[in-house]
């Protein structure tokens, strides 16, 4: 879509020039050259070429803080995605994190190769080939290899989800043929790659005969719920977030948890909070597993992004954002920062490993639940 079309679709022409977007932007705070307002203004003035060749196109975290606060309801998220599609046409590809390894892994998955990715799931508990519930694992098996030196193993999240589902009497389908959900490809401006991955995933789920698809990863959930339906219509199955599902089960008394001592705080993932509106379920669960839960100064819809998205442009700016967020979590007096997104966990663990003065445990919520399930 060209810039004019993009301006119309995102209603950027309603811009009041108030600057709330740039004032809310975590990137603009540490990297003053980056300005969402300026990009919108330039697009409106027909001067998009000024920024389309610029690295700043790739600096946006798509965290939606600006979109959420914009008094004119401009869809900045779609604007950021659209300008990336345009930037790619001008050969402005940004700087992928980890030398583009993730983009390669995502791209290879469009070719229809036969993956070998579920050995861990068979060891973690009981899984099925076909059935009502499908657990969409996401990138965890790949993350587990790439971040093998991190204190917490990304695949532990997957193992925990299976253990919890099994405890609830559910044997979910976990498939070798599941592909990357395409979230990052979409925000990398690669719409066609996204569509190929999405079509393959929908087919895999249909073949498994599943009617309820459970996601732990907020990105997978958000992208299925909003973009799979946008491009493929009715999916024929329900898209459910694991924490919504679990919170319901806890309310119904189907699972009992023992609280453990200690003070915890919680990082709202952008995709789960501002973009999917799921704030309560994880908090209900946290209150079931921890004796003391304190909010960070900026939480819920004001929460701050974990610093990098779509494996693009991880920079000193990302590290500033992460370091400051970790300090904010420590200021609550908590001993543990609970994350609900595998990437938040990875990004904070990375920053905590070398930024001085960071002393807080970083745990995924599923880890807390499994501990609480086994008696606290």
């Amino acid at each position: 879509m060209n810039i004019e079309g993009l301006v119309n679709e995102t209603k950027a022409y309603y811009c009041l020039d108030c600057g709330v977007c740039t004032g809310s932007c975590p990137v603009a705070r540490y990297s003053p050259s980056f300005s969402p307002r300026l990009m919108v203004e330039k697009a409106l003035m027909g001067k998009a070429e000024d920024f389309l060749r610029d690295q700043d196109v790739w600096s946006c975290l798509t965290c939606a803080r600006c979109t959420h606060r914009c008094p004119a309801n401009i869809d900045y998220l779609e604007f950021a995605r659209g300008i990336r599609e345009e930037a790619l046409k001008l050969d402005n590809k940004g700087i992928p994190a980890h030398s583009g390894m993730f983009q390669s892994i995502m791209g290879i998955q469009t070719s229809g190769i036969k993956q070998d990715r579920i050995a861990w799931a068979k060891e973690a508990g009981s899984i099925a080939d076909k059935g009502e519930y499908f657990y969409f694992v996401g990138c965890l098996p790949y993350f587990n290899v790439i971040f093998a030196n991190f204190p917490s193993q990304p695949l532990d999240i997957g193992r925990n989800v299976i253990k919890i589902l099994n405890k609830l009497g559910i044997e979910p389908v976990v498939s070798n043929d599941e592909k990357c959900c395409g979230h990052d490809m979409l925000w990398n401006g690669e719409l066609e790659t996204f569509k190929k991955l999405a079509a393959a995933n929908i087919e895999v789920i249909k073949e498994a005969g599943s009617k309820k698809v459970i996601f732990h990863c907020p990105e997978g959930y958000f992208i299925f719920k909003n973009y799979y339906t946008k491009y493929f219509g009715d999916l024929g199955f329900d898209v459910i977030h694991f924490y919504d599902f679990l919170a319901e089960k806890l309310k119904a008394g189907e699972l009992t948890l023992e609280k453990s001592n200690g003070r915890v705080t919680y990082q709202d993932p952008c995709r789960l909070g501002r973009l999917a509106g799921i704030y309560e379920s994880p908090r209900d669960i946290i209150n079931g597993v921890a004796t003391s839960f304190v909010e960070m100064e900026r939480s819920g819809e004001n929460s701050v992004c974990c610093g990098t998205t779509g494996w693009m442009n991880c920079s000193t700016c990302s590290k500033e954002i992460q370091g400051n967020r970790l300090k904010e979590s420590m200021a609550t007096g908590a001993d543990t920062l609970i994350t609900a997104c595998p990437k938040c966990n990875i990004h904070f663990s990375c920053a905590a490993s070398f930024i001085e003065g960071i002393d807080i445990k970083i745990k995924d919520l599923t880890e807390m639940v499994v501990t609480a399930m086994n008696g606290g």
Partner: protein
């Protein structure tokens, strides 16, 4: 790490080789490349190409 990623993607382990050859070992370089090329030819088309 690459070996583990390649395994997850379902690509055969034999298609990946890592060898150290110094700039003084021209003969050995030729030998390594020739034998690897031979092996790949014997293995046939990669699952990546077949899938695409």
């Amino acid at each position: 790490m690459v070996r583990q990623l390649v395994a997850l993607l379902g690509i055969e382990d034999e298609r990946l080789a890592l060898e150290w050859v110094s700039s003084a070992e021209a003969a050995r370089f030729a030998e390594v490349v020739t034998s690897f090329t031979q092996k790949i030819k014997e293995l046939g088309k990669s699952p990546l190409r077949l899938a695409a």
